[in-house]
């Protein structure tokens, strides 16, 4: 099933940021979102993940199929790495955590409290969570922040395996991930504020 975004307008803090955006993400494919700081990538991903409603337009094929990874990883510092992962595995009703630990080279750290990990190690744990969700569509916001080159490669491998399995991935990033994927620059969709006045239902009345 495709993830289809059509004619989407999204707003942040009451101001439209992107308008008229549309794309189709097929199983087995990855799409990389690019665009300057503050253009609205995070807002777009949150909308697709269903955390905030769009101003207009539709997102289909997202319901209960998305694994979302934001800037914050939802890691509990007092739980160990394995406990953190196991929790998410059970919430999503997916299988074991061993493959996820291995994919991100966390086996050696699995007993450590997550609070004592370095920035990059924490990030690896956050990414390993994706593997235990069993969800087909990964929606990732700057996933490689703080990762060293080896870890970026692990991440690219995980993505490739996910795509090969029939999953898909939507990734916002500023740096090169070494992935062969389509790139969508969202800059052309910046909302024209004069034109998009209708975005705020309240403001509409003032024409």
């Amino acid at each position: 099933m495709d993830l289809t975004v059509s004619d989407l307008t999204i707003a942040r803090g009451g101001v439209p940021v992107l308008a008229g955006l549309g794309f189709v993400l097929e199983p087995g494919h990855a799409l990389i979102l690019r665009g300057p700081n503050g253009i609205g990538k995070t807002t777009l991903l949150r909308t697709i993940a269903g955390l905030q409603p769009p101003v207009s337009g539709r997102v289909t094929g997202a319901e209960d199929r998305i694994a979302y990874a934001a800037h914050a990883d939802g890691i509990k510092p007092t739980l160990s790495v394995a406990e953190n992962l196991r929790f998410w595995a059970r919430v999503f009703g997916a299988g074991g955590i061993q493959p996820a630990l291995e994919a991100f080279d966390l086996t050696g750290l699995s007993g450590r409290p997550a609070g004592s990990l370095s920035a990059g190690q924490k990030r690896r744990l956050g990414l390993a969570r994706l593997l235990v969700t069993g969800r087909p569509v990964w929606v990732l916001d700057e996933p490689t922040v703080s990762l060293d080159t080896r870890a970026v490669a692990m991440f690219a491998d995980a993505i490739r395996a996910h795509l090969a399995w029939g999953g898909s991935a939507l990734i916002a990033t500023h740096i090169d991930l070494g992935l062969e994927a389509e790139v969508l620059d969202v800059s052309p969709f910046r909302a024209d504020l004069a034109q998009a006045a209708g975005a705020d239902a309240f403001d509409e009345a003032f024409g």
């Binding site: 009451g14 239902a201 309240f202 403001d203 009345a205 003032f206």
Partner: protein, 250 residues
């Protein structure tokens, strides 16, 4: 951009522009009517009514106490209705009207409490007693405080409207519960009300008519204030939106 079909219905006043235009025309009349009623009622009550045989001149406090107590409750009712309209039909003006009414209701509650307290000093020999009626008013005041504080604390206006709307709903249920709880809690010790004036017995026409005028004055003042303040809130939101647009454009 409003649909023409809506124009005929009452809901069309939920359009901010239309609301502003209509109230703009209405405001002078409302202010004048409120002022006339208030001045008439209070002057009549204060200067031209006799003293009560038992309470002496303190009975004159009734012209402030009862109308403000009534408005304190009615303002909350109005907020409840407005919140429901917002939650169900999502008319922004309705949410803003609820917000505008909050401080007005709170002030009414304070007036009822203060005049009651001042009245209580000669009548009951104490400023404050934990009489059920007084206690439930104090709790109502706390609800007002929480409601206002929540509005102030949230940045995004729609989020604030949603959250305060739900709070108003849940709060109403619990305010009602509190009312019964308080009655129950202080049943046997009911010391205050016996001293207070019994309505059927004492409120003769001499007191009753000016009281009615005062109540009308308070109602009109409430409406005028809520309309005016809703207009202010609408402008505040409009300014916010314009500022955001200006910034984003920059």
């Amino acid at each position: 951009m409003t649909q023409p079909a809506m124009n005929s219905s009452l809901w069309s006043y939920a359009n901010p522009r239309k609301f502003l235009a209509t109230t703009e025309r209405l405001m002078p009349f409302l202010w004048t009517a409120a002022l006339i009623c208030l001045v008439t009622g209070l002057v009549w009550g204060f200067f031209f009514t006799p003293d009560d045989y038992r309470q002496g001149s303190t009975v004159k406090i009734i012209y402030l106490h009862v109308p403000s107590a009534l408005m304190a409750i009615n303002a909350w009712m109005m907020m409840l209705v407005a919140s429901l309209i917002w939650l169900v039909r999502r008319h922004h003006v309705s949410a803003l009207a609820a917000r505008a009414a909050g401080p007005v209701g709170a002030v009414m509650t304070v007036i009822a409490l203060v005049t009651g307290a001042i009245w209580g000093q000669p009548m009951w020999g104490t400023w404050w007693a934990w009489d059920p009626r007084l206690t439930s008013f104090l709790i109502l005041f706390l609800f007002y405080l929480g409601y206002i504080a929540l509005w102030e604390a949230i940045e995004d206006p729609d989020t604030a409207a949603d959250l305060t709307g739900v709070l108003c709903l849940v709060g109403s249920v619990f305010a009602l519960l509190s009312r019964y709880a308080v009655n129950f809690w202080n049943q046997g010790l009911h010391q205050g009300a016996s001293l207070s004036m019994d309505a059927e017995e004492n409120v003769a026409d001499v007191f009753y008519l000016p009281l009615l005028v005062c109540i009308a004055g308070f109602v009109l003042l409430f409406i005028a204030l809520v309309f005016y303040r809703t207009g202010t809130e609408i402008r505040a939101r409009r300014i916010r939106a314009l500022q955001a647009r200006e910034r984003a454009g920059a």
